[in-house]
Symmetry: C2
Subunit: 330 residues, 2 copies
């Protein structure tokens, strides 16, 4: 072995999804595919963190309901988020009497949780698992950067953390989008220290996983309708295309980044969206709908994550990143 | 299904382990089984967080070397820790060119990472995976409670976060301790809000998973040489024994808690040890040695975790907890 790519012979499938997003997110082109559009990003809660948790709980329930199932028919929840000690996921799981596996992959969580859920199904250990994640602009800004009340200016290389959550119900059988393989990421660090430039930090990790995927599977870019990255943003996407092109892989024709397409960039979203909820909501709304309708047949979903913390940055560390990719087929 | 217990028919096995611990930890009875005893808990680093990360990196390398393998023969690292954004695990994984799955289960991480590694092996997806976790007294105190420099008094119900790390190399074949089953935990919250009383918070989650295990497997307590919990401490262990006894399961004869046995409680460790490194070091040193020697043949290893954060506690939330259990056989 020594390969990063694993193959799911049983082809676990996503039989249902559910999504929720804030008002700003729902204005964009992806927005109209979102199941629940929030008019207020507090979602009736007293804090941003509680709103984020409630969004996650909402989509976990939504994915189960959209499959016509009940909570007690679900074997496992695999989830994580960006907050310290993944409190959104842990507290959301408290609402359910379902075994819970907490994962942390920053904004790569949607792909990581799908790969873990698929692995348990491949092993015949689990029949039905929910993979879910989300993020909230205000809780992420407060934790990673500055409280909103400070009114700090955002630099042009920055992205806007998406207020959204998405869940996939992954099952051993049924009609849906099949998970046929995954390329698990290594931690890659190119020495970027600017916490406002996540795209540049994550692009090398995305390139590493995508290059490994095509090297190991011996497939070509044309075998995919889309090569989707999570939240590189406009700048990060350009860097990714440069890095892969340098290694002889031209993905420019069918690459798209969830962060780049989620907003109508009109004010200070700058490079586009970021956050675990970014790729989660785009996958589980727009991409899933297109795949179920047959207009997208095969995509590589590569969610990108920056594994920094305020403590590591404060201690002078650079930003290690990771990208996990899953192959989705209709 | 609907069961929490999963069975690993391929019996993935722990073929090697590695452990490291601080000076205080090495004074206890478990201490003499630890592979690397630190004279200084800074481990030559400039910060506690960097020391914690280095310990984790050290045991991951140690487990690989103890199996006579090289880094490039390892398919996956499954790891997490207590620090925000699991920086110890993520930054440790940066040292290795090996696919990385980040998990978060607080102090239940050792059992969670073993279960995830075993699941990937059961599915035929992975041949060799390292499951590892650790914690550091000083980094945990600073993050969860107060900086040590403040010199805050510790209440008698408190525990002492263990400075240690442990790693298990889990393989599809080879001589070792077999992982034959796992009971995945649900998030359980009994409404405890005292962040100094982790034992009381976690005991109901431990009871929930242990009761589910015996209910679903139809085994009896006597089928195990030991029923090991992670870090309930002295008080938490007594609560666990009460809670299970009330439900008709008497585990008192062969229950032991890693937190209760790791220290010679002589000063302010009070209820004993806690932290992700607590059960990790006891399992991978003392228990693994006893199992390989044949004096322990079958144990239930139930690692306990408190899923709180300073943000959730600050917002008035109680402490949700989780316990994952794995069955280990020689």
């Amino acid at each position: 072995m020594g390969n990063q790519t694993i193959y799911f012979k049983k082809q676990p499938r996503i039989v249902a999804t559910s999504t929720i997003a804030g008002p700003k997110e729902c204005e964009g082109v992806v927005g109209r595919y979102v199941e629940t559009a929030l008019a207020d990003d507090m979602f009736g809660e007293s804090t941003f963190e509680k709103a984020e948790c409630k969004m996650l709980s909402h989509v976990i329930d939504g994915a189960i309901a959209n499959a016509g199932l009940k909570r007690e028919e679900i074997d496992m929840i695999v989830s994580g988020d960006l907050l310290n000690q993944i409190i959104s996921a842990s507290f959301a799981a408290r609402d359910f009497s379902i075994p819970f596996l907490g994962v942390y992959g920053a904004c790569s969580t949607m792909a990581e949780s799908l790969a873990v859920a698929a692995a348990f199904i491949e092993g015949g250990l689990t029949r039905r698992a929910v993979a879910a994640t989300g993020s909230h602009f205000a809780s992420a800004e407060r934790q990673y950067r500055y409280p909103l009340e400070l009114g700090c200016t955002r630099p042009p290389q920055s992205q806007w953390t998406v207020t959204a959550a998405g869940a996939s119900l992954v099952c051993a059988e049924g009609e849906g989008v099949k998970i046929t393989a995954a390329t698990l990421g290594k931690v890659v660090d190119f020495g970027i220290t600017d916490v406002n430039n996540m795209g540049a930090a994550m692009a090398p990790a995305a390139a590493d996983t995508i290059l490994a995927h095509f090297r190991e599977t011996k497939e070509s870019v044309e075998d995919y309708d889309l090569i989707v990255t999570g939240d590189l943003g406009a700048l990060g996407s350009r860097i990714l295309k440069d890095l892969t092109w340098e290694k002889g892989l031209d993905i420019s024709k069918n690459h798209v980044d969830c962060g780049e397409i989620i907003y109508n960039v009109i004010e200070d979203e700058f490079q586009g969206g970021s956050g675990a909820g970014c790729s989660a909501v785009v996958l589980n709304s727009y991409l899933y709908t297109k795949m179920m309708a047959g207009s997208l047949k095969r995509i590589l979903f590569a969610a990108t994550g920056a594994l920094l913390s305020t403590v590591s940055s404060g201690q002078g560390e650079s930003i290690p990143c990771i990208t996990h990719a899953v192959v989705l087929e209709r």
